[in-house]
C-alpha cells in the first residue's frame, strides 16, 4: 500500500492540510487502514523534498501548512496508477507448506488440518462481509477494500477445497513408501517451523 501515492491522489483534487489528508485517507479506505498523522507529515516532507508537492508557506508550523501537488507530482501519480502491481515470484505460502508437510507427518489427519484452515478463512471472510453489509450502501471505499480481501480469502478457500478433493482421490498410500514430498517441494520450511515435524 503506497501512502505516498494515496496522498498525491488526494492532493490532485485540491490543496489540503495534513490533518485533512489523514482523515480523508482513512475515510476512503473504509477505515480499514488506519494512518497516523505523523506518518502523513513525514511522507509530505519527502514528497516536498522530491518536488512532487509544494507547501503554500514555508514559515508556518506543520498543521497550518497547506500542500498542493506539482506537475511532477501529477506525472508521478499518473505513472504509478498505470504501472502493474509488482509481479513477484509465487510466494512461499505458509498454508501450502503446512498442507504439504502434513502429508509426511505420521498420524496427521490432513483433511482435518485442511478443514481447520478452511473454517478460519471463512470466519475471516464473515468479518469482512459483515463489515461491508453493516456499512452504508454508498460507502464505496469500504466495499472495494472488503471485496479485495474477500476475493483473496476466497481464492485460499478454493485452493483448500481443491487440495482436499485431490487428497481424497489419491490412491491409499503404501505404508512402506512415504508421500512424494521432497525438499524441493517445500523449500521455505525454516528451522524454527520444523518443530511441527516432531
Amino acid at each position: 500500500m503506497s501512502v505516498r501515492h494515496a496522498l498525491l491522489a488526494l492532493l490532485s483534487e485540491e490543496p489540503k492540510h495534513g490533518l485533512r489528508l489523514q482523515q480523508e485517507f482513512e475515510e476512503r479506505t473504509g477505515e480499514v487502514w488506519p494512518l497516523n498523522v505523523g506518518q502523513v507529515y513525514i511522507t509530505l516532507q519527502r514528497l516536498e523534498r522530491d518536488g512532487l508537492v509544494e507547501s503554500d508557506d514555508e514559515h508556518r508550523a506543520g498543521p497550518q501548512k497547506r500542500f498542493a501537488i506539482t506537475s511532477a507530482g501529477g506525472a508521478e501519480l499518473d505513472g504509478w496508477l498505470r504501472t502493474p502491481a509488482a509481479d513477484v515470484p509465487p510466494p512461499r505460502d505458509e498454508l501450502v507448506i503446512k498442507v504439504l508437510i502434513s502429508l509426511r507427518v505420521p498420524g496427521a489427519d490432513v483433511h482435518a488440518i485442511v478443514q481447520t484452515h478452511r473454517r478460519h478463512m471463512i470466519e475471516l471472510m464473515q468479518r469482512y462481509s459483515h463489515l461491508k453489509m453493516e456499512a452504508a450502501e454508498h460507502d464505496l471505499g469500504l466495499a472495494l477494500v472488503a471485496d479485495a480481501e474477500l476475493f483473496r480469502l476466497d481464492g485460499i478457500v478454493r485452493w483448500l477445497d481443491a487440495a482436499d478433493a485431490r487428497l481424497r482421490a489419491r490412491p491409499t498410500p503404501d505404508p512402506a513408501s512415504r508421500p512424494a514430498v521432497t525438499a524441493e517441494d517445500a523449500p521455505a520450511v525454516r528451522t524454527d517451523g520444523a518443530g511441527a515435524l516432531r
Binding site: 459483515h130 471485496d147 476475493f151 480469502l153
Partner: protein, 241 residues
Amino acid sequence: MTAGVELREVSKSYGTGASGVHALRQVSLSVSGGELVAVMGPSGSGKSTLLTIAGSLEEPTGGQVLVAGIDLSDATANDQAKLRRRLIGYVFQDFNLLAGLTALENVTLPLELDGARMRTARPAGMKALEELGVADRADRFPDELSGGERQRVAIARAVVGDRQVLLADEPTGALDSVNGEAVMRLLLAACRRGAAGLVVTHDAQFASCADRVVFLRDGRLIDQTRTAPGPESLLTPGPQR
C-alpha cells in the same frame, strides 16, 4: 430466541445393503429465529438432502425434525402439508415466479393455497412486498420486472404471512458477486425480522454473509464457524502486504 428449525440426530439413507447410500448421518443442527445459517460442502455431501428434510419435503430415516417447536412426524399427512405451507418458505435458484400472475398474486398464492381469503392475503402480501422494497411493483407481471426486482418478489413470497423458516438452495447460483451479495443481504434482513434461515451454497463469499457457517462432508456435519462475525477486530492495524 426460539428454535425456528431443529434437526435432532437426523439420518437419511436411500436403499439398503451394499447399494444403500447414506445421504445424512446423525446430523444435529438448530437454527434460531433471527439467525441465518449457511451450509457448505462439496457436491454429494448431503446439502440439498439436509434442506429438503429441514423443509419436511422428505422424511428422515432416523431422528427428529422440529419446525417452530412442532415435530411434523407426529402430524397427519394432511396437517403436515398445511403446517409446511404455513411455516416454511422456499427460495429457488431461478426464483420461479409464475409468469401469468402479478408480483402481488405470486406472493399471495401460498396464502390462498392455504385457504386464506384475498381480503386477508392481500395486506399480508403487500406487507411482504413493502419489506422487500418492491411494493410499487405489486401489479406488474414478472416479465415487466428487473432481475433484482424478481429476486425481491421471490423472497417476499417465501416470507409472506407468519412463515418462521426460510430455506434457500443455491439462491445465488446464477448471479454475479454483486447481485449475489444483494440476495444474501435480503435473506439476512428477512431473518432479522424473525425467520430462521438456512441457505445452501458452495460459494464461500455468499456463505460468509451468514451468521454461522456449517460444513457437511459425506452426510456428516463436521464443523462450524465459531466466532460471531464482527468487524471490530479488523480495525486494528495489521502487517502491510
